[in-house]
Symmetry: C2
Subunit: 199 residues, 2 copies
Amino acid sequence: MRKVDPEKHAARRQVIVDAAIACFARKGFHGTSTAEICAEAGMSPGNLFHYFPTKHAIITAIVEEERQETAEFFRELHESPDLFAALLGFMDVVLGLAADPVYSSLALEIAAEAMRDEHIGELVAANDAELRAALSALIKAASGRGQIDAAIDPEAGARWIAAIIDGIFGRIAVDPGFKPDQERPMMHLLLTRFLCPKP
Amino acid sequence: MRKVDPEKHAARRQVIVDAAIACFARKGFHGTSTAEICAEAGMSPGNLFHYFPTKHAIITAIVEEERQETAEFFRELHESPDLFAALLGFMDVVLGLAADPVYSSLALEIAAEAMRDEHIGELVAANDAELRAALSALIKAASGRGQIDAAIDPEAGARWIAAIIDGIFGRIAVDPGFKPDQERPMMHLLLTRFLCPKP
């Protein structure tokens, strides 16, 4: 029996995930066939099946990848000297992702799919809970250092920041005049006034 | 030929729309058959077809009804002596709608459908543009009276309030801990600090 090289296996898996993301962003989950993902990845259906038995398994992998990337980002964030500036930096990254047509299409596809598919819905809710926990911990730590207003309850503050993140992607869906790369000053004003008002 | 009584016609139409809303909230647009809408409305398929040739036409009517109700609400809002208080009142109504399981399910269904169906997408985008125009006019008028900070550009401010509204419904979709009726104080704090900071 051939041995599986884990690095090679992970690399092939990533090729498929990236190909699927490109297809999903263009035509949606339901509009994309596994044959199209194979073509985009330059792989035979049998080969693809070896890595992902279903299209659903690929979507699951995408949501899991998103979770890991967010967790990694927040681990690094906590090392910043100014935690409010770090939060603004995170929100700038969110705006940047919203400005990326592939990422934002995919995010909106995942949100819609989460309403239709119970398993994807659970994964997305778990990711959201993890994001809120990370935001809440950041607010709490920033509050302790006087970098965020102590009157903001960390959990409630995290909820409303998560709402603002959802809202940014909501804008992409319905408002062609919303240009994320031009919205940074207004977002900074909103968050600064909300979280650290002048005494 | 029988004459059509316009009032009776409108009332029958409304019965169908209300029945459809109840079905859509329970099972989604795609999970609901016209037969189920007929059963809920207590009407024969032939009779339903007379008012709405397709399920799509019913969804269109729901989005149009939403548009009219929002427009009516804002017409009355402008007569308030305190326009910032009026804006907070509107946002309280939004939170109330988010707390209503039928309304919030329907709103999320419509948002998902807007991504799949071009015509529904256009209608939703037009409603959103109208809402933003109303919010922008309200901010401008409030700013003129010193009830909202003049540093807030009305159009940009309206955009971010619309994002917050989207975000509230986003919370309903993914965060079971988000209880709209308990979130009012935090929402008021957020909007008050954003739009009318203390000098």
